[in-house]
Amino acid sequence: MQLRRAPLALGLGVALAALPTHGQVAEVDVRTQVFHEPSATSRMTVYTPELGVSARPTDGTRVFASYQADAVSGASEAIKAGPLLSGVPDIVSRASVQDYRHVASGGFSLERAHARLDASYTYGTENDYRSNAISVAAGTDFWQRNTDVEIGYSHGFDEVCSLAQGNLPATLRQGLDSSEGCFTGSERVEALDISLDNFRVAWTQTWTPVFTTQLIFSGGLQHGFLGNPYRQVVIGPTGQAAQEHHPDDRSRAALALALKYYARGLKTAFGLSARGYRDSWQIQSVTSELSVERYLFPWLTLLVHGRVYAQSGASFWSDDYTGGEPSYGPRGQYWSGDREVSPLKTLLAGGRLEGTWRADGAGRWVGVFRQVSAGVSFDLVKTVLDDFTWAGQLPDDTLVMLPSLAASGTF
């Protein structure tokens, strides 16, 4: 039923946005990104097309709607084992992955002279996951628009499909082998709830005509099944595997500071940001990013950026759970095959070219658009895993290529 409502809501949003009302300014935005991770054993490719539309039916009002899809194909490890089982043949099994995710979103903004309010609803679905999220944000500016403060909150109520296993102890629970029967009422599987609450406070301050900063504090609470229902982890020295078992609660907090400075002599904008993060799983991370952006021509901008990220592992992380951890210790209570909770670093480098063309006077491009822009970007992300192996073998899927194309038109 929800599946039928999502396209309806999206269609309604698009129709609203397209209403030929007085004073309307509308924008359409299309984008596609490819996530490609080459590997001999567990390659992954994700195509992400996206369409967004927005319109201002009246002064101070904006409505928007978007649709995004992920088409996932590749192969992934279904069982995680550590180095102690490196001699056991086929202890790490791999399975092909084919999935589609659809996300529809719609909302509105109300804007007054110095205040604004945004509200939106997002619905996501895939074979084994359902997601609903409502978001609200309010902001205001003051001191001649030199200070801007915004607060936002979102609540998500999701469901993930897992094998129906009653009250089996965690050590005996098995991973889902396929999404067959998910969300159909089948007794083979069950839907497990996840709730997500996120809030953020942002303060943007202009200091000089060429220098501005933004400070963001964000936090989140997650509750429910927070693992991957398919993934199994070897927890016994003889190869006994159980479904990945993460804590049911996770609270997260992050503080980020970003600066932007325009060097008049170089006609270039420099951006610098730093972010610190900590959560109740004891993952701590720091991120720093540097960006340089300038106009090559009055209609063409070039952005080059680099990013360094480092995180510690979760308190319950281990590359091998067969060592007989005490059952009351973090590695005895929980086990994970997710390299996202292991200590790691990522390095990112990339760039983007974006052209913008405005029609002269009252003219329009192709008789429709007042302004058209198009961009192309490419990023490389290298992951350095400090303590993660597939039964002693270092993963080779640690380089991600991210090409993307985008275009938008205002009419």
Partner: protein, 83 residues
Amino acid sequence: MRTKSRWGRQAAGARAAPRLIALVLLLGSSCAPVRPEQRAILADKIMRFGADARARSALEHALENREGSIGGGSVQGGGCGCN
């Protein structure tokens, strides 16, 4: 010597946070404000935070599959295998 408990330190921190924010805002406001006619550069898209929100969102969508401290919002799959 008596030391503050963890709760005590957290409570003191919670009381100090609004004062710190107010102080920083006051300091910010005490700088000579940038007048509207001086905002040409700040209004350009290469100087605006969030001007590339869609591109940023797409990049974070990819990174949240490879990092443990990004994302955590909603609408992310549990079983696509890209985690």
